[in-house]
C-alpha cells in the first residue's frame, strides 16, 4: 500500500504505453536534425553561389529583426502593421465565407431541393483556383475588397463541402430517436443535425484557413492598400532587398502554421466536447 502510494507522481508516466516517451523524444530529435540540415544546406548553397536573390540564413534572420523594428519609410509601417493589414483582410474574408457557407451548407444538406438547385452552380465555381479571380476582383472590388473576396472564395468551398458532408452523414437513428421524443422538423434540425455538423465544420475551417492563407499572398502581391505581408514580399523584391523579401516569406509561413495550429487545437477541444473522440 505504502510503496504503491509513493510512486504516485511516476504513475502517470508508467501508465503511458511502453515506448511512447522514447517515440516522442526520437521524433523531436529527428525534427531538429531535419531543420538544422535544411538551414545548413541553404547556407552552403547561398555562400557557394553568392546570388543576390539567395541570401544566407543569418542575413534573413537580421532582416527579419529589421522588418519588425524599423519602419519602412515609404510604407510608413513596420512588419507588425503589415501583419495587422493581412490578418484584418483575412478575418473579413473568412467571416463572410463562414456566414455564407454555414447556412447554405446546412440548407443544401438538409433539403434535397436546395441541394439540386445550388449544386450545379457550386460545382461550376468550386474547381476554379481562387487566385484565378484576382485580376477581375481587383477591377470590380478594388484594392481593399478585391483581396478580401479572393480569401472569401478560398475559404468558402472547403467550408461548404464540410458542412454539407456533415449534414448528410448524420446518424439516422439519432433523427429517429429525436422523432420518438417528439422533436418536430425544426427541432430535429437545431438539436440534432446542427450539433452533429459542428466537428465537420471545424475540419472545414482548418482546411479553409490553410487555403485562404495561400490566397492572401497571391492577392496582395497583385494589389493591396495599406500594406500586407504579401504586398511587402513583392514590394521588397522590387526594392532589390531580397533579405527582407525572405523575411516576409518567413512571417507568412509562421502565421500560416499558427492559424492552422490554433484551429486544429480548437478542433480537438471541440471534438471532445461534442463527444467525438
Amino acid at each position: 500500500m505504502v510503496s504503491h502510494m509513493s510512486d504516485g507522481p511516476l504513475r502517470y508516466f508508467k501508465s503511458l504505453p511502453k515506448g511512447l516517451l522514447e517515440n516522442y523524444a526520437r521524433q523531436l530529435i529527428i525534427t531538429v536534425v531535419a531543420l538544422v540540415s535544411f538551414i545548413a544546406v541553404w547556407w552552403a548553397v547561398a555562400l557557394w553561389q553568392n546570388l543576390p536573390y539567395l541570401p544566407p540564413p543569418d542575413k534573413v534572420f537580421w532582416a527579419l529583426v529589421e522588418s519588425f523594428t524599423k519602419q519602412d519609410a515609404s510604407l510608413g509601417t513596420d512588419m507588425w502593421g503589415n501583419i495587422a493589414a493581412s490578418l484584418q483582410r483575412f478575418a473579413i474574408g473568412f467571416i463572410f465565407a463562414f456566414l455564407v457557407a454555414v447556412p447554405l451548407g446546412l440548407v443544401m444538406g438538409f433539403f434535397k431541393i436546395a441541394d439540386s438547385f445550388f449544386k450545379p452552380i457550386v460545382e461550376i465555381f468550386r474547381p476554379m483556383p481562387p487566385i484565378a479571380w484576382v485580376p477581375i476582383f481587383l477591377l470590380i472590388f478594388g484594392i481593399y475588397w478585391g483581396p478580401v473576396m479572393v480569401i472569401f472564395l478560398g475559404v468558402l468551398f472547403p467550408l461548404l463541402s464540410s458542412v454539407i458532408f456533415g449534414v448528410k452523414s448524420v446518424d439516422k437513428p439519432l433523427i429517429d430517436a429525436a422523432k420518438t421524443m417528439g422533436a418536430n422538423r425544426m427541432q430535429q434540425f437545431t438539436k440534432v443535425v446542427f450539433p452533429y455538423t459542428v466537428p465537420f465544420l471545424m475540419t472545414g475551417i482548418t482546411i479553409g484557413l490553410g487555403i485562404g492563407w495561400m490566397c492572401i499572398v497571391a492577392a496582395e502581391i497583385i494589389g493591396a492598400v495599406g500594406g500586407g505581408v504579401g504586398f511587402y514580399i513583392n514590394y521588397t523584391k522590387d526594392l532589390g532587398r531580397f533579405d527582407l523579401m525572405y523575411a516576409g516569406m518567413v512571417v507568412i509561413a509562421i502565421l500560416g502554421i499558427c492559424t492552422v495550429g490554433a484551429s486544429r487545437l480548437i478542433e480537438r477541444r471541440l471534438n471532445q466536447r461534442m463527444g467525438v473522440k
Binding site: 439519432l174 430517436a177 421524443m181 417528439g182 422533436a183 438539436k191 440534432v192 466536447r273 461534442m274 463527444g275
Partner: protein, 256 residues
C-alpha cells in the same frame, strides 16, 4: 385492458418485379402493463413492425391503435430504445435523458428533478455529467432506457436493445430491465431474436413467420420472476420455440 391493438396490418416495400411484402395479416392486442416479446427469424420485419408502432414508418394498409386512437406519427406516449443506443454524443448523460423534456418545453428545475429520478432508476447516479463515449455498452443502454422513460410514455418500445452487448452484460441488463419494469409498470414491446431472452423476460412471446411475416404462434408465460434459466420448464419451452423458429428458417426458399 387493451392499450395497443394492431389490426390487419400489411406493409410492403416497393421492389421489382413485384413489391416486397414484409408484413401481412398481422393482428395483435397488447394489454396495459404487459411485457411482450416479439421473436422471429432475422429479416422477418420485426423492426419494421416496431417502427410502425413508434410512428417512424407507416403501414401500407391496416392500422395500429393506441388507447383506441390511430397512430399517425411519433408521439410522447411511446418511448423507443434502440439497438445501436442512438445517444446524442455531444450531450452528457443528463442532457440525453432530458432531451424529450427539452423538446416539450419542461422548465429547467423540473427537468433536473425528472432526470435525477430516471438516472437513479437505471443506476447511473454519479455519471450525470459523463459523455456517452466514456460509457460501456451496458451503461449506454441504461441511458437509452432512462431517456425513453423520462418522457413518461405509456409504452416502451425496445428494438433488440441488448443485441450489441456481451453475454454477461446482456443477462445483467435483462434483470435490470425487469426491475425497472416492475417499478414503472410500463407496457413493454421488446424485439429480440434470442429465444432465451424472450423466455426470461416476457409475459407473452409472439413468434413471427418469415416473409411475408405474420404471427405463427403466441406463447403466454405466467411463471414467477426472476426465472431460472436452468429449470426444466425453461429449457422445455425454449426448445419448443426454437423448434418452431428452425422450421421457419428452413421454409425459406433457397436463394439462387
Amino acid at each position: 385492458m387493451t392499450i395497443l391493438s394492431i389490426n390487419k396490418l400489411r406493409k410492403t416495400f416497393p421492389s421489382t418485379p413485384e413489391d416486397l411484402v414484409a408484413i401481412s395479416e398481422f393482428d395483435l392486442e397488447i394489454n396495459e402493463g404487459e411485457f411482450v416479446c416479439i421473436l422471429g427469424p432475422s429479416g422477418c420485419g420485426k423492426t419494421t413492425l416496431l417502427r410502425m408502432i413508434a410512428g417512424l414508418d407507416f403501414p401500407t394498409s391496416g392500422e395500429i391503435q393506441i388507447n383506441g386512437k390511430r397512430i399517425t406519427g411519433p408521439g410522447s406516449d411511446r418511448g423507443m430504445v434502440f439497438q445501436e443506443f442512438a445517444l446524442f454524443p455531444w450531450r452528457t448523460v443528463r442532457r440525453n435523458v432530458e432531451f424529450g423534456l427539452e423538446i416539450r418545453g419542461v422548465p429547467k428545475g423540473e427537468r433536473k428533478e425528472i432526470s435525477d429520478r430516471y438516472i437513479e432508476l437505471v443506476g447511473l447516479t454519479g455519471f450525470e455529467n459523463t459523455h456517452p463515449y466514456a460509457l460501456s455498452g451496458g451503461m449506454k443502454q441504461r441511458v437509452g432506457i432512462a431517456r425513453a422513460l423520462a418522457n413518461n410514455p405509456a409504452i416502451l418500445l425496445m428494438d433488440e436493445p441488448f443485441g450489441a452487448l456481451d453475454a454477461q452484460t446482456r443477462n445483467l441488463m435483462q434483470k435490470e430491465l425487469l426491475r425497472i419494469w416492475s417499478e414503472t409498470k410500463k407496457t413493454v414491446v421488446f424485439i429480440t431474436h434470442s429465444v432465451d431472452e424472450a423466455v426470461f423476460l416476457a409475459d407473452r412471446i409472439v413468434v413471427m413467420t418469415t416473409r411475408p411475416s405474420t404471427i405463427r404462434n403466441i406463447f403466454p408465460i405466467s411463471w414467477e420472476r426472476p426465472r431460472d434459466r436452468a429449470s426444466v420448464e425453461f429449457a422445455t419451452l425454449r426448445k419448443q420455440i426454437l423448434a418452431q423458429l428452425e422450421k421457419e428458417v428452413q421454409s425459406v426458399p433457397a436463394v439462387p
